[in-house]
Symmetry: none
Subunit: 260 residues, 2 copies
């Protein structure tokens, strides 16, 4: 079990506010992605629905993380001491197990590939995502044996690299006929995915690098939260822009007769 | 850290009721703006969606502020004494960080400018809004050094003035071809924006003017709440009226065949 560090009032307030910011971002993105389906062609609406599910699930988990964080601390003489109740971090892994495959579904769905190509790509991506998260968790929960943490981390990286291969090489080959606008948005989306997912292994490495969870607790909690906002809300917004650009290119953009 | 003043039962009840009024206003406006999208042309629906997001996010934050306010006080001999738990005011800044850029997006979206003009204007406005709020926060959190508070406040005013310049001069030039009804509504909207946003720097100045947070606490909390209702619900209602007027002018107003 991870030992919680005591926190100064300002450190506690920072994590508290960052978690609340994340809840607000996730829940408002949920409403936005659901409603914004009306602003893209019918073919691209499933992608926005998946975006909505991702941020809805994440919003739910952040509500739980927020409550768990509050319960895990108690105010003593103007500072925050661990209350003895555990801070349940495992929510993040439960969340990723559901949302990471859906993030990949979003990307494949918005490209509207042929059924056979899309399906085979999705099966590969989803299996790799589940393996990546499943192999990462035993390492994340390992706070004493740093060798075992490194072993699990390395095993977890193999499917991660495979996902990058599928997205860059295999997906790249499929989108050569897309418009320049779509290709450029797609490149940005993949970079956002790589940059935000890259935060997780770095955070994972901190205890191995000898930076104790105690001192890095604030950075880790804020880092995960901002990475999740970028990887889910920001990424979903890019998927929305791709859906708009593709709807515009194929003439399926819903519009008034007056503006047609 | 801000020291909370003790409150008479009537003062406590006033803040309590104002906060609750604000929650009711925000959440009912959320439902209204979402549903009212069906009453304007397709081109103006994104503006109403952004209005809904703004009041939804604010409603969430006011629920948190309300809970935090209740936790921060305890009833002792018929009056309210600080319980020792902090009253988390920072929610307001977290809220503004999300909602102020969205308020500007609302205004640009409802005008339905050309893509290039709209995008460049939005980028300028959003960067200025984030700077304004980011520079305001260190000043707001500064209760001892009034010079530093004034410095941050002044720095924060620069992007505020820039936003006013973009809205009055640059946006003004873009809407010359709009109908008289739209132009008049737009003028009202900008005045509401200036009047309600003007409450925030005034509140910010109170501690510098020597009016202690203790005595002005009730005024500040009520002032922020009423300003938020005007700046979000009232402003969103004006955006709805602009969307109606523009839909009517360009013939995109949804209507029954029987009334056409």
């Amino acid at each position: 079990m991870n030992m919680l560090p005591g926190l100064a009032a300002s450190q506690y307030a920072l994590i508290y506010n960052v978690l609340s910011f994340t809840i607000a971002s996730m829940l408002s993105s949920f409403v936005f992605f659901l409603a914004a389906r009306q602003q893209v062609g019918v073919a691209y609406r499933p992608a926005l629905l998946f975006s909505a599910l991702v941020v809805g699930i994440a919003g739910y988990h952040y509500l739980r993380i927020f409550d768990s964080f509050n319960d895990a601390y108690t105010l003593v003489d103007g500072a925050y001491a661990p209350s003895g109740k555990p801070f349940n971090d495992a929510y993040r892994y439960v969340d990723w197990l559901l949302t990471v495959p859906l993030l990949l579904v979003e990307l494949v769905a918005v490209l509207h590939l042929s059924k056979a190509v899309g399906r085979s790509m999705l099966i590969k991506l989803i299996i790799a995502a589940v393996l990546m998260i499943g192999l990462g968790y035993p390492g994340e929960a390992e706070y004493t044996n740093m060798t075992m943490r490194a072993v699990w981390g390395t095993l977890s990286s193999i499917p991660f690299v495979y996902i990058l291969y599928v997205l860059w090489v295999q997906l790249g080959a499929q989108v050569k006929n897309e418009s320049a606008a779509v290709q450029s948005l797609l490149k940005t989306t993949r970079v956002v995915l790589l940059a935000t997912w890259g935060v997780y292994p770095i955070t994972f490495l901190l205890p191995i690098l000898g930076i104790g969870m105690e001192t890095s607790f604030v950075a880790v909690q804020s880092g995960y939260a901002f990475a999740d906002v970028a990887a889910k809300c920001g990424y979903g917004l890019l998927i929305f822009f791709i859906a708009r650009a593709k709807s515009e290119a194929d003439g399926s953009l819903p519009q008034d007769k007056a503006h047609a």
